[in-house]
Symmetry: C2
Subunit: 270 residues, 2 copies
């Protein structure tokens, strides 16, 4: 395995770009091959079997790009598929759930942690599982927030409707006196302002992306796979549908511009 | 072709069941084979190419069930795929857009019609096209309502948030002085009460399902294919993911019960 091979990153759609952003920031030399499964998005309402099957297909595709490591930049796929697919491949692979859980366990002072995410992520109970492995005394409360992704995609980022929806979703977590809240879906950091406003100053928001990029650094470093080249990395973006829409969204999130839609390639599995 | 073969009906997920309900009501002798593409739902935000490819796969599956006719019970698939797939198969096939347009043209008194639907349905412009074929003088105004489907799926059917969202979506159509509004997505009839409340008594709501069932009756009748058997038809339901969730939703909509989850079969394409 050569250190100058790219890192594969995938998500159900555009949300994973918030993780890519953090990787670009912490590991600026790494070349990224990103895949967004925009033809089958969202994953959050679908079954473990289906999300695992989709993840397996995408990993197979990323392997054709000779990636040296893979990041599942999607909480639902990390929760449902990582354990299974990791056993099937030789390439090192990480998800966002374990890093998110680690940060939360280091952040909380009162031991009461809230997790918000898709229906699938919350149902999987994986955040709770990892947190209890780290400290069995932690109290962990989950809440699915199915409207957050559509609200972000509608562009209602700073909006009274979104605030009202957030108030309802967070009410029961606030009653539990949490002091730490994991943004357990890659879209949610885009709602950080409203979530902060609703949750209040006493609750620290955890974005798993930061720790995920750090985990990737540690992984590559331990295997002597950190990129060495000084040249600007040539990132590649692939989606399964809607290259143009992806391009607009990507350029609103990433520190580098995807110059043109034609730079985003469409890959279909069927 | 025998008149006692079933009718195939498909949708991106559960929304098409509102059309099935109307078919069961108007054509109670017809046996239905329903397919809901719950593993790839929604279609409304995806491209014409992708929605056409998915529709083609589903039609191929329905043909293995020896259906005598097919109903595309999804506005987005009707708008994007019907014209293309109709040329590829021998089985007669209808969608919901043309019937919906017909009802709207017969309903309006002032010639000003609003269409609400998914991003794909509105972008296709197909309602407008059909309406202008019927009467070039009609004024047609479209508005995509991407949050309506997630709100229905969250169960917020009678809710202040949904009302606020509806008020925003409908505001520009109301300024156009429409007197007729087509519920151009099969989920929207479930929001009929709130949409009526927001749009007011002067606006008549059109649900294309009624006219679609009537069109199906006319089609089968013209080909001498109306079911003749008196026995209670044995409907079949297939989905690509989440049989249990589908079952709950179906039983909340349909006049007949799907007895158990195991009656809903999972079909995967990949």
């Amino acid at each position: 395995m050569s250190c100058n091979l790219p890192v594969g990153v995938f998500d159900s759609g555009v949300g994973g770009l918030t993780v890519v952003k953090e990787i670009m920031h912490q590991l600026p030399k790494e070349e990224i091959v990103y895949f967004g499964d925009t033809a089958r998005v969202p994953y959050g309402s679908k079954s473990k079997e289906t999300v695992t099957a989709y993840s397996r297909q995408i990993i197979k595709f990323l392997q054709t790009k000779k990636v040296k490591a893979i990041v599942i930049a999607c909480n639902t796929a990390s929760a449902f598929a990582l354990e299974t697919v990791a056993k099937e491949i030789d390439v090192p692979i990480i998800g966002v759930v374990k890093p998110g859980a680690k940060t939360a366990s280091e952040t909380t002072r009162n031991g009461r942690i809230g997790i918000i995410g898709t229906e699938g992520t919350i149902r999987s109970g994986l955040y709770k599982e990892f947190l209890h492995e780290m400290d069995p005394a932690l109290l962990v409360f989950g809440r699915a927030c199915p409207l957050f992704v559509p609200l972000v995609e509608e562009g209602w980022i700073h909006d009274s409707v979104t605030k009202e929806v957030a108030s309802r979703y967070l009410a029961e977590l606030q009653e539990k006196d949490i002091d730490t809240l994991v943004l357990g879906c890659t879209h949610y950091p885009l709602l950080r302002d409203i979530i902060h406003e609703v949750a209040g100053d006493k609750v620290t928001l955890v974005n798993p992306a930061y720790e995920t990029a750090k985990t990737l650094y540690d992984l590559l470093s331990s295997k002597d796979l950190l990129a060495q080249e000084e040249a600007k990395p040539d990132h590649k973006f692939y989606v399964s549908d809607g290259a143009e829409k992806f391009c607009i969204f990507a350029n609103s999130i990433l520190p580098c511009d995807i110059a043109q839609t034609k730079d985003v390639n469409i890959i279909t599995f069927d």
